[in-house]
Subunit: 404 residues, 2 copies
Amino acid sequence: MSEPRGNAVRSEPSARAAQLDAADELAGLRKRFVLDDAVYLDGNSLGALPADVPARIDDVVRRQWGELRIRSWEESGWWTAPERIGDRIAPLVGAAPGQIVVGDSTSVNVFKALVGAVRLAGDGRDEIVVDATTFPTDGYIAASAARLTGCELRPVEPAEVPGALGPRTAAVLLNHVDYRTGRLHDLPSLTAAIHDAGALAVWDLCHSAGALPVGLDAHGVDLAVGCTYKYLNGGPGSPAYLYVAAAHQDRFDSPLPGWNSHAEPFGMSPTYAPAPGALRGRVGTPDILSMLALEAALDVWDGVSVDSVRAKSLALTDFFLDCVSQYVPEGRVESLTPPAHADRGSQVALRCADAGTVMKSLIEQGVIGDFRHPDVLRFGFTPLYVGFADVERAARVLGRTLGG
Amino acid sequence: MSEPRGNAVRSEPSARAAQLDAADELAGLRKRFVLDDAVYLDGNSLGALPADVPARIDDVVRRQWGELRIRSWEESGWWTAPERIGDRIAPLVGAAPGQIVVGDSTSVNVFKALVGAVRLAGDGRDEIVVDATTFPTDGYIAASAARLTGCELRPVEPAEVPGALGPRTAAVLLNHVDYRTGRLHDLPSLTAAIHDAGALAVWDLCHSAGALPVGLDAHGVDLAVGCTYKYLNGGPGSPAYLYVAAAHQDRFDSPLPGWNSHAEPFGMSPTYAPAPGALRGRVGTPDILSMLALEAALDVWDGVSVDSVRAKSLALTDFFLDCVSQYVPEGRVESLTPPAHADRGSQVALRCADAGTVMKSLIEQGVIGDFRHPDVLRFGFTPLYVGFADVERAARVLGRTLGG
């Protein structure tokens, strides 16, 4: 049906997409990525390749490794990469410099953070509370951290956390954004409730960093971890990071005190003495190729405001939900993603009985999202490179696939 | 002085070098590496760049990540890389397939191996014995593993290990080759002594894998770890590996049970159930760029016999020690490396009062070794790309630098 001119809200989705794209202040960033004709809505699993990364990695491999070899540990800044790149991530998650080190996987960093938090919490606190809806690895690692520190593990729905805290609670591990539903949890109020109970708050930022403001320092988060291959576009399996709030650093006691976290790593002392600051979150020799690919990928963020990214992210998910309601037959899908902006990350999850088959068909038609067992279609919206025309096309193809 | 013709042993070092290079069956491998005019004797710290790696990494970045993106987890074999590459390392350390996974740093793998070993050892065994001369990170991590499992840590010189074992010993962590002196420890007899005491043997192969036969299966080693950036030439900070002997795999209980080690990683179950086999040594998402650089680097080993590598390694270090005794003024250096072949790895360590200054000068003259605090000149000999003329030149430059 034809819509009245000048009323963007009621115009055809394709016309609205064109208007929204024309007004998008981040639209120019798309050309900084390698993209093709597909609509890539899986950046919440693996971010697209930033265009400058291949040449940088080639230089790291051919010149830094091939020619300078061992000298690159100093001359190419390899040795200090974990803290240098941590300081590049810091402004994206609201952290002052000197609190983040990059390295190891998210799982390994969850382990460091949780054991470290239990030790910081001190005697008499022997319970770890974990998000019952967490991405599984966090729960598995939390169980191991609890077992090794003599704590009890309590899985609790995030909304129930404040009521579940008590004098035994040492640490609480929560996801900022739920990997399955895309629900954004209330980091400021949950952190405050955890502190009121005398416990430490450990946040997993995998699905929020690079998509929305986090405010680690402002909200007094104690420890945090995150991956870098989703909204930070660091590449497949790029190293994760660990945030240790400045106030805790002198007492942070890592369960993985490798030589890279030693105060004098080349002193080769048989006795361990931790380095000051966030450095004590380091473990072994950093994986330089993956780490420097991440560093190159972060250049895209220069001059980009996380608030602008958040505004566009919400506009993208709003528009997608609108388009879905217009294109998809009633009752064919159910959104698991909260309608309120305050509760929404940067993805939309749609429950759909035949989700596995549907996603396969979408991918064949050039709309790349992913399927999460058993019945979830997951679409991630990376504001740096997804546009509104992409969103309209994705919803249109989905509607057609579902018989609309 | 002139030497009798036909007596290679007594000929001039440069003539002997030419003879030895001419007879070197591995000499052809040198062209598979990117090398320059320098003599690179630091491959025991960072292996040289294999010539085929840059193009492979470029393909991984541009095509696998840039074009296939998320599809590469299946289509480019990313997901199975840790165990596939583990099986490439296996023959180099005498392991049958299915016992090695690649990933994480050596330090993290030491932690998995030691905590796993203590759990395998069972009740009543609450002592971890660690090589008192170990590379420091192994000792630091062993202390953490002991603390978290309620064990006592006992540092013991490797030669004293058999007499130090008792009914409380759960696990013993030893280095196959000492990082400082280049001493090769007797893996078969020490492993047998550890087993006689009912404990588990955990070996660190960082300085032996790729330089000499290890024989993990043949000697019944329980667990082992190693890095891949020394004699395996995997690149700066390339991922380490964990060996879990087949006999222990069903009971191996990792302290880092990340989702990659789950029996059904995409089942997203909140309950952990370990995968069968060596897979349970995996943790989080593997760092694909570093890992696939390693995979490309391992191609150099196709058709290469570790026994030939060992024979050349001993010939190189023998020749270096001969040249040093000829070129370097008496008493100016003292070899810390054992003269007996059975006790020698693939490096020569020379004690020298002003070692720091001397190494700086050697490097300026194109002879790249390294300095280990406080007084050690360390020279590593990678048989795949170091030749005998290199060795002669290195000793000659050293002799000149030391006033010979």
